[in-house]
């Protein structure tokens, strides 16, 4: 077996193992919450008999281990259970919202990642000079603004001063792709502003670190232009640290954007989770928690694998 394949398979196996462990932690966490689900559903006035019946019906009287494996078995077959509050199938409810979440995160990433890397390269090229300082100052300002402030600022700018977009990002099934894009333009702008700085700074630092190497001097003595040196000789050796930060930011775009969703009224996973936390709808909380964990683990695993693939010593063994 090619050593690199072995490493990749190892990473995937580790990722799956980690996911299993996280599922147990989520289950235990929800289990440890005070209060009684049946009571929460039926309210304070429920009779003891009604509570007991409901517990029996929901399987709440089974031992925790049995319930964990029942839940896990359901997850593996695509059955996330039913919402306690409205009885809707959770998988179905999540499906569309997850699509919306990924669409928003994807659009933001498609703009933010190349832009951050490009700005990072430019900052490294002019390290310590005005373009570097300008880029750093601007991106650090945007990351320092709380998201809702940035959001209201963008709304004011692009719906009031220059009315090009709507302040509410309403999307619904059947909308055309372009219409959807137009609808989510504002949240995308806000998200880009929020994630740009971190990736840009990491790109800059990783490149500057590589620029100390002897092979960069070789490239300079070949008479190559500074941008060629950075792009062709420095960047390929700086990929691994950059990718790991990119993946962390992508994960944030998926799981951490509830504030932006609320401000723009965008119907996605974050809002759904928050709604059901307040309603004590534990199966939903469990399911969404597991999905978020899976996204985190998957993206970090991907970063690891890209890091491995980017290393020529592993890709081309002796």
């Amino acid at each position: 077996m090619h050593p690199i394949l072995k490493l990749v398979v190892q990473r995937i196996a580790l990722g799956l193992l980690l996911l299993l462990a996280v599922s147990a932690v989520i289950f235990l966490g929800v289990e440890a919450l005070p209060g009684d689900t049946a009571q929460a559903i039926l309210g304070q006035s429920a009779t003891p008999q009604a509570l007991e019946n409901l517990r029996e019906k929901l399987g709440l009287n089974e031992p925790p281990l049995t319930r964990y494996f029942t839940w896990l078995g359901g997850v593996l077959t695509g059955d996330l259970g039913k919402s306690l509050t409205n009885g809707v199938d959770i998988a179905q409810a999540i499906g569309q919202r997850l699509g919306n979440t990924l669409f928003l995160a994807g659009c933001a990433a498609v703009i933010a990642v190349p832009l951050a890397i490009l700005l990072g390269l430019i900052a490294a090229r002019y390290a310590g000079r005005w373009p570097d300082k300008l880029i750093s100052a601007v991106t650090l300002t945007t990351i320092s603004l709380p998201e809702f402030v940035a959001a209201y600022f963008v709304i004011f700018l692009l719906t009031q001063l220059f009315p090009v977009f709507q302040p509410v990002a309403m999307v619904f099934p059947g909308m055309s792709f372009w219409a959807k894009l137009h609808a989510i333009a504002l949240p995308v702008i806000v998200l880009v502003l929020v994630v740009l700085a971190h990736m840009m700074r990491m790109t800059r630092a990783a490149i500057l670190n590589v620029m100390q190497s002897a092979y960069i001097e070789t490239a300079e003595l070949k008479g190559l232009s500074p941008m060629t040196i950075i792009w062709k000789h420095a960047f390929p050796n700086a990929i691994a640290p950059v990718v790991s930060v990119v993946m962390l930011n992508l994960a944030y775009l998926v799981v951490g954007v509830v504030v932006v969703e609320v401000v723009f009224g965008y119907n996605a996973l974050g809002q759904y989770l928050v709604d059901h936390v307040t309603k004590r709808d534990l199966p939903v909380v469990q399911a969404v928690g597991l999905i978020f964990a899976a996204v985190y683990i998957f993206l970090n695993m991907l970063a690891d694998i890209i890091g491995i693939l980017a290393n020529p010593r592993l890709r081309h063994p002796k």
Binding site: E217, T218, L221, K222, G223, L224, H233, P236, P312, H316
Partner: protein
């Protein structure tokens, strides 16, 4: 007459140093050096570290490494002044008119790109020829430089070829754009002696066949004597002497040059056989998690108060043997007897006296000392640890040791950073001596030092041996050092001892094949030595 290819006049090079706790100050690295190089000629630049050799070499590309500034004088390349040229015109000449071969090809190749892509990069970026043409040129150079599989080696990544091969690839990279001038900056210094000779021969042949001019920078006079037409001796950023190669090595004028030429003359009269203080018997060892033995059935004896030189190339197991003796790597088989008692295989089982009586000195004195401790603390530590000395008594003993290493008063309060390389190594020797050991293991202790400084260290070690009756296990790859210090010699190759005995026996023919190769590869300060050895080897391999 046409302009010379390279003409440097009154070159002044400066840098800014940042001493801790003081304001930055400007230091002058090169003080007004003049240099002329005609087309097709090879000029050797020689000197100790800090002489400004590399700095002058790089000035031919108008390049200052790490903040070094070319502040005065003129540099004319192909008739054009380049010291003050702008970045764009410098980019145009770098890689086209002048190219550079560095000491460490392993660090100078981009690990993420195939060798071919890097070798032909200059041709393409300067628009000198088509890609196919450049690749054909590169393959021709690979062949000329004696690389194996010249047609496919370019598809490999740098980590996939050996150090000697990579050094030749770098030479090919420098020659590919057909420059007028190549700067070779210690191109064989990092290589093993048996590899060095092949690379040196390949470089020499390539220079001759392409007719390119070269600046050849090295600290090894014997090496530069093989390739250069003329030699310039530099010291502290000034020229000491300039002359034809034959004149410099046979009839040097300046005292400093004379010292450089005679530095390898040190010889040490071998002591007669005596009962051993250290016996290593059939020791076999391997590192954890590996499946091959790095030491194979090694047996050696070291008499008290004598020196056993362990000689071999990198990877031959020399330092591993030291680790086995000190207990850092417990052997899987065999026994080690020291001063009449068997030593426990691992460190935990050894007594304090076992530890005290075996001391070590390392190659890198820099990293072997705590930079935040004074010399007095460093030398005083073993005095406290082994003998419980304190206060005035300890200070008195520290001063005694400092006197022994010929450093005298005033050094006890200094920090390692304030010492020169040779002084640092002396402090390490004093620290080892403080424990009153019966055996000191010296691991390449002179390899990082300039020849004259190394000479001083060897003389000191011999004097201390006479005073203290301490035995040395002297690990080195340098055969001149072996001759200078040893009573017995063990030649190691791939983890095994291939030749072992009294110095006079080991260095007297008939030799085994490996020892013969090793001995004949050591450059000698003689014109035409390289050609003789190569011709001799060709004849032998033809005879076989």
């Amino acid at each position: 007459m046409a302009d010379p290819l390279l003409q440097i006049k009154g070159l002044v090079i400066e840098a800014t140093s940042y001493p801790p706790g003081e304001p930055p100050k400007t230091v002058t690295l090169v003080h007004g050096v003049d240099l002329t190089l005609e087309r097709g000629r090879v000029l050797g630049l020689i000197g100790e570290s800090g002489a400004g050799k590399s700095t002058i070499g790089l000035s031919a590309m108008a390049y200052g490494r790490g903040g070094v500034r070319l502040t005065g004088g003129t540099i004319h390349l192909n008739g054009r002044e380049i010291r003050l040229a702008d970045a764009r015109s410098l980019r145009r000449l770098r890689g086209r008119e002048v190219t550079y071969v560095s000491q460490s090809a392993a660090a100078s190749f981009n690990p993420a790109k195939q060798i071919m892509e890097q070798v032909i990069e200059t041709c393409l970026s300067h628009g000198l020829c088509s890609k196919a043409e450049a690749e054909a040129r590169a393959r021709g150079l690979f062949r000329k430089l004696g690389l194996p599989n010249p047609d496919t080696i370019g598809n490999r990544y740098p980590h996939q070829v050996s150090g000697g091969q990579l050094q030749r690839c770098m030479t090919a990279m420098a020659l590919c754009p057909k420059p007028d001038l190549v700067i070779f900056d210690e191109p064989t210094t990092a290589l093993d002696v048996t590899t060095q000779i092949d690379v040196l021969a390949a470089i020499k042949e390539a220079i001759r066949d392409t007719g390119v001019a070269a600046l050849y920078i090295t600290h090894d006079l014997a090496v530069v004597a093989q390739v250069a037409d003329e030699i310039m001796v530099l010291r502290h950023g000034r020229m000491v002497e300039l002359g034809e190669t034959g004149q410099i090595i046979h009839r040097p004028v300046q005292d400093y040059t004379k010292a450089l030429v005679s530095v390898r003359g040190l010889d040490h009269a071998e002591k007669p056989p005596a009962p051993p203080v250290l016996q290593v018997q059939n020791v076999t060892a391997r590192y954890r998690g590996t499946n091959f033995d790095v030491l194979k059935n090694v047996s050696i004896d070291l008499p008290a108060g004598q020196t056993l030189a362990v000689v071999g190339e990198s990877g031959s197991g020399k330092s591993t043997l030291a680790r086995a003796i000190t207990g850092l790597l417990p052997p899987s088989q065999g026994r080690i007897t020291f001063a009449g008692r068997e030593l426990s295989a691992d460190l935990a089982g050894r007594t304090k006296d076992d530890l005290r009586e075996i001391q070590m000195i390392y190659q890198m004195a820099d990293t072997a000392m705590n930079p935040r401790q004074t010399v007095g603390t460093i030398i005083g530590r073993p005095l406290e640890f082994y003998f419980g000395l304190k206060g005035a008594e300890r200070d008195r003993r520290v001063q005694e040791l400092l006197d022994q290493i010929e450093m005298g008063k005033g050094f006890a309060d200094r920090y390692p950073a304030e010492l020169s390389g040779g002084q640092k190594q002396r402090v390490c020797i004093a620290r080892a001596l403080a424990a009153k050991p019966k055996l000191i293991i010296c691991d390449e202790v002179t390899s990082a030092l300039d020849p004259l400084v190394a000479d001083g260290i060897l003389k000191l070690l011999l004097a201390l041996q006479a005073q203290e009756h301490v035995a040395y296990l002297f690990i080195t790859h340098d055969l001149a050092t072996v001759k200078a210090i040893s009573d017995k010699i063990a030649v190691m190759f791939k983890g095994a001892v291939v030749r072992y005995g009294q110095k006079s026996d080991v260095l007297t023919p008939p030799f085994d094949d490996y020892t013969d190769l090793l001995l004949s590869s050591v450059p000698e300060m003689e014109l035409g030595w390289l050609e003789q050895v190569i011709a001799h080897r060709k004849m032998e391999s033809a005879g076989n």
